[in-house]
Point group: C2
Chain length 439, copies 2
């Protein structure tokens, strides 16, 4: 027999799991819509030039490329690729629609594809969930991204996370203060690992890269008490004093951001300032933020930041931009593990079964009556034995079983059983619908 599994790293979403995914997507989407973000869908395939040169060589190796029709087969020539995130396609979209009024605020929840080595919980097709504001330089747009992510997570039932904030220009000032302004990028990459390898690990890495010892110790002087119990406000005030520009300007922006977050009704209690938060991507230019599960090393539920240069870089107008991305696949895994899903409606509320051959069309008729009344209903496709009726009813999650046999056909009635308490009725067709509607 032919191999029938999905392709490597791909998966099928079966009905029960898919209903839970959709529950999450729809709650998140509701919050996005409450803020007036608009839906957008871009195609799965983009021209290869759009995708290339945007993410760095390592990431681009992970792109799935489409063989060009015609000449392609022999030459391996590729003219398109599957998107591997939603940001580059958004930038391409903005560039191709110069008529769009600004700010353009959109959300997109959609699959992306990356040829990563498949492993537990990591797939080659997975969903991303992004909100972006294009064309607004105001920090209120950043604050909205923070608050919309916060509210979406709260709507899903999460409460054990911090919103960690920082500013890319602060990292620049820190590099400057440590005397390594020209090596900001390397510094950032090393510092980004602080969570995983600790101060000693970062120091070792910096020294092996040839950073002067005094630069490294100066770095820890600057960051000094950031790991102590210093409050966010104290840490900001201290850095404002000791850092050169653009440090103080970045601190002022973060303060402004927090005022906006507060005004929007966001929860300042859960906001934490961390001057070493880097957020991997190269393209950030301003405030960055990450939603981190409390408890240390528990990972992130999402994050984002301001990326004022990216849209221009991708061929469009030079527009300011800020966005946030929820780690929706990780959120789904956590919600499964933590059993955070409510009981979701089953396939049908009512299962209508014929229990005699001559009752089949009556069963179809009664199923039609339930559906006309708006009640999701499954009908048996043939006459079943009573035992099998209840097995099928359970499988579709029905609350009521309606049975029609020879007797019921004769009297134009149905037998109704409510599964929650076993209560039974024998009723004319239309009364049966009423009993279910009134339940």
């Amino acid at each position: 027999m032919a191999k029938v599994s999905p392709a490597r790293g791909m998966r099928d979403h079966l009905p029960a799991a898919l209903r839970r995914r959709r529950y999450v997507f729809s709650l998140v989407e509701e919050v996005f819509q409450l803020f007036g973000y608009e839906p957008l869908e871009t195609p799965a395939l983009e021209r290869i030039e759009v995708l290339q040169g945007k993410y760095g060589a390592e990431t681009e190796k992970l792109g799935f490329k489409i063989l060009k029709r015609g000449a392609g087969a022999e030459t391996g020539q590729c003219d398109m690729g599957l998107r591997y995130d939603l940001t580059v396609p958004l930038a391409r979209f903005i560039a191709s629609h110069p008529e769009l009024a600004m700010p353009f605020r959109r959300y997109q929840i959609a699959p992306v594809w990356r040829a990563e080595r498949p492993q537990r919980g990591r797939y080659r097709e997975f969903y991303q969930c992004d909100v972006d504001s294009i064309g607004s330089a105001s920090l209120s747009a950043d604050a909205e991204c923070v608050v919309v992510a916060d509210l979406a997570l709260k709507a899903l039932g999460f409460d054990d996370y911090d919103v960690v904030i920082n500013h890319r220009q602060l990292l620049r000032a820190i590099a400057d203060a440590a005397g390594v302004a020209d090596r900001e990028h390397e510094l950032l990459i090393a510092i980004d690992k602080l969570d995983k390898i600790g101060r000693e690990g970062v120091s070792a890495e910096l020294e092996s890269r040839g950073f002067p010892a005094e630069a490294v110790s100066s770095l820890w002087d600057v960051l000094g008490s950031a790991e102590s119990d210093e409050t966010a406000e104290d840490a900001m005030a201290r850095l404002e004093q000791i850092l050169p520009e653009p440090g103080p300007k970045a601190i002022a922006e973060l303060r402004q951001l927090l005022v906006h977050v507060d005004a929007l009704g966001g929860d300042l209690e859960s906001v934490r300032f961390d001057p070493v938060l880097a957020r991997g991507a190269d393209y950030y230019t301003g405030p960055v933020f990450e939603i981190q599960l409390r408890g240390g090393g528990m990972g992130s539920l999402g994050g984002g930041g301001r990326y004022d240069g990216l849209i221009g870089l991708l061929g469009g107008r030079d527009l300011p931009a800020v966005g946030v991305s929820l780690g929706i696949e990780r959120i789904l895994v956590l919600m499964e593990e933590r059993e955070m899903f409510p009981e979701l409606p089953g396939v049908a509320e009512v299962y209508v079964a014929a229990i005699a051959d001559e009752a089949i069309n009556h069963a179809l008729h009664v199923a039609g009556l339930f559906r006309s009344a708006g009640v999701p209903t499954v009908a048996s496709d043939s006459a079943l034995r009573v035992k099998k009726v209840f097995k099928h009813a359970e499988r579709v999650g029905a609350k009521f079983v309606v049975m029609i046999g020879t007797d019921e056909v004769a009297s134009a009635e149905v037998s109704v059983k409510r599964l929650s308490d076993g209560k039974q009725w024998r009723l004319p067709f239309t009364d049966a619908v009423q009993v279910v509607l009134e339940d």
Copy 2:
């Protein structure tokens, strides 16, 4: 500047159009769920062996192939492809899940990809919308497919179509009666063009393919009055008399199908029997049906049929199957042309604007109050002049404009204007929310 358009044959779905698409998808989905069909999502990519050898060489040329990672670039070797329909992936899914309880009844509304020559209204990425019942040999499953498609189209507002039915075994019997039983497939392909090229065209094509003249005239004898005003029941009765088996058996099944359609509450008035309906695909084995717009040559809104051999062919158990597919992209185009969309909600109900710099955080705060009350709200990201406020409010489709300037900040009030009638209020923050909620 780099080329910024979508890839060839691809398109972006902008917010306003996307809202209409989603309106259609959600109405259709609601009907599917009313019948207890379950959602399923299969991956966009399938192993190339799964896709190949299923559709015929012509169609398979249209498949987008994925270059194999690693060795691929030089050799043009491909190991995966983008799905070009939802049926083959469904069959692969069924084969890979032998534990599934039958009947398995699922729907899927999802994009597929085909490298067809792009033209007006035809894209290389487009949605299909399928309902299938796997594992049921009962004609009630076929009837449900007919009725679910009918109800979905009615829910969208269509009423000028016929549900045309036929049976593949009837075409076999017709070929037999015409003395060309061994050339059934060729006959079917020619007859499928009857709508477009008429009887003379079909006759000419058959003769050029070397069909004997007496076979062609016998064919029209059999079909004879089918184009006259003969009722469906009369046509069936006549064919039942003159056709060899499996003709009479097919007629009996169609009668049974119609009884089930009627029992399910389907509209028999719109059902039409057409003994030449072939429905292109090779894989149909039993009843076939197509939803045709009235008025002749207006095309189809969808169709389907029974395909009992396909699942086994694709590597799974040999399971009976029947399905229906709505031509969702064509439906969307028609609904645009016919202006069948209701007025859909805009981006936001309320637009809150600061009209003085010191009012920005007040505006964010008031926007937060509206959102907490469940009212979709957009806030200005900076202080705006009044004229611009109304331009923005109109763009987001707001029903209320809330403005906050220096005076309002001082009195902790807002100015509210209802755009439908110009009525204005000046109210404390929370009262403003009440006014909108009560509207």
